[in-house]
Amino acid sequence: MVSDAGLPPQFLRAGSSSFTEFLASVRPELLPKDRDADLSHLAPHGTTIVAATFDGGVVMAGDRRATMGNLIAQRDIQKVYPSDEYSLVGIAGAAGIAVEMVRLFRVELEHYEKVEGAPLSLDGKANRLAGMIRQNLPMAMQGLAVVPLFAGWDTAAQHGRIISYDATGGRYEESSFHSVGSGSVFARGALKKLYRPGMTAEQAAMAVVQALYDAADDDSATGGPDLTRKIFPIVMIAGPDGVDQFDEAEIAAMMDDVIAGRMNRPDGPEAGLR
């Protein structure tokens, strides 16, 4: 018999490469899931996430606001995260649960990669995330839904991909751009006019930042650029060289462009009629 001194026997047992399953068997209480009461009025909600593919990758951006009812709970929340070297996850919905879900998702991907010696496929990652959302279904029914947007560079297919979800864990592949969260209707409308195939990374980043501006313009829960506090959207890309984040200076310059343009035309860039 192997003693449990040092490393407990469960650690040595043959099992799958899933960290979530391992956690469920040894420390189930650490899994992000519901306690009991209805907390929807207490929990801050994250709002708008936008993503678009371009030639050589995919870009994802999120505003920085979290709301609690009509209050602004946080002005500088981070809602777009790298989930591993080649993928990004953006979160909308109950912020506390979503942030915790992202934390578990990141460990899940890294754990698999270390145990197996090779990363999961992009589809594999997307399916694992779907499973986590599905486990949150009881909470979703109490008003604490988490709706992430997942995007990444598919190293096998060599192009950027976007995958969206619903609160039940349903998984949908988006072809070129997508948006989730309270301001998503407006952001998607804007992106529809701004997006075109074959954009560069910079153009795609500009398109998603413009779309976020339009979302903030019409949705009170989405935060616009905060010029006095210098709080700007977080923009990340995933491409063949991995995940990269636009640094604050780049975003600030981009924001200056956006605002200068909107001084002349407050509704943003004009799309052709034909």
Binding site: S3, G6, L7, L12, L30, V107, E110, V115
Partner: protein, 231 residues
């Protein structure tokens, strides 16, 4: 069958001999410090069955001996680190904690009467923020831990290899120098080849200059060829 009394000293000696024999059959692994981190070099013909691997952000693992046993320990180590990092924080995972856990486990198995001891030797290496805080722990089959200062050699013919490394080790060596010294050491093993082909080497680094949180990086065949060519 009659039960014979065997003195505890003899029992321990037999078990140690058994484990040592198993370990001596395999090729050695060198773990050596350099300016920017810690370099792990193994003579390993397999591209997929690793002898050195990543445990956590700053922690690497190297092993010799029975593959199924150290593979089991490697996965247990990853679970230990990931569980600790997830329940507390990533910065709360330490190489020392992991080395202790391994030591406890190996020590208990070694002295437990019922089963055979593990035929493995391990290195747990943790790269720090500077060269002063780099840590290399060598663990033997009986659970003893040695905190190595400059390098660690595990496997069958450690004396010859250690002698080469000790003679030529310099503080603040570059990665090129460290890899070349490690390979020179491995070549010095009795019965070892004069030349070790690039394909028969498995090299990885814990590189503190890496921007990502995960400092472990495998060195591919092309990069390794360049490192060895500049001699």
């Amino acid at each position: 069958m009659s039960m014979m009394y065997v003195a505890p000293e003899q029992q321990m000696k037999d078990r140690a001999d058994f484990a040592r024999k198993g370990i001596a059959r395999g090729r050695s692994v060198v773990v050596i410090r350099y300016q920017e981190g810690i370099c792990l070099v193994a003579e390993n013909r397999s591209q997929s069955l690793h002898k050195v691997s990543e445990i956590y952000d700053r922690i690497g693992f190297a092993a010799v001996g029975r593959y199924n046993e150290f593979e089991n320990l490697r996965i247990a180590g990853i679970r230990h680190a990931d569980l600790r990092g997830y329940s507390y924080d990533r910065q709360d995972v330490s190489g020392r904690g992991l080395a202790n856990a391994y030591a406890q486990l190996l020590g208990t198995i070694f002295s437990a009467g019922g089963e055979k001891p593990y035929e493995v030797e391990l290195v747990v290496a943790e790269v720090g923020l500077s060269t002063d805080s780099d840590e290399i722990y060598r663990l033997t089959y009986d659970g003893s831990v040695v905190d190595e200062d400059r390098f660690a050699v595990i496997g069958g013919q450690t004396e010859a290899i250690s002698a080469v490394l000790a003679a030529d080790f310099t503080e603040g060596a570059s990665l090129t120098e460290a890899v070349q010294l490690a390979v020179k050491g491995l070549r010095a093993a009795p019965g070892g080849a004069d030349e070790i082909a690039v394909g028969a080497l498995e090299v990885a680094v814990l590189d503190r200059s890496r921007a990502q949180a995960r400092k472990f990086r495998r060195i591919g065949a092309d990069e390794l060829r360049q490192l060895l060519d500049t001699a």
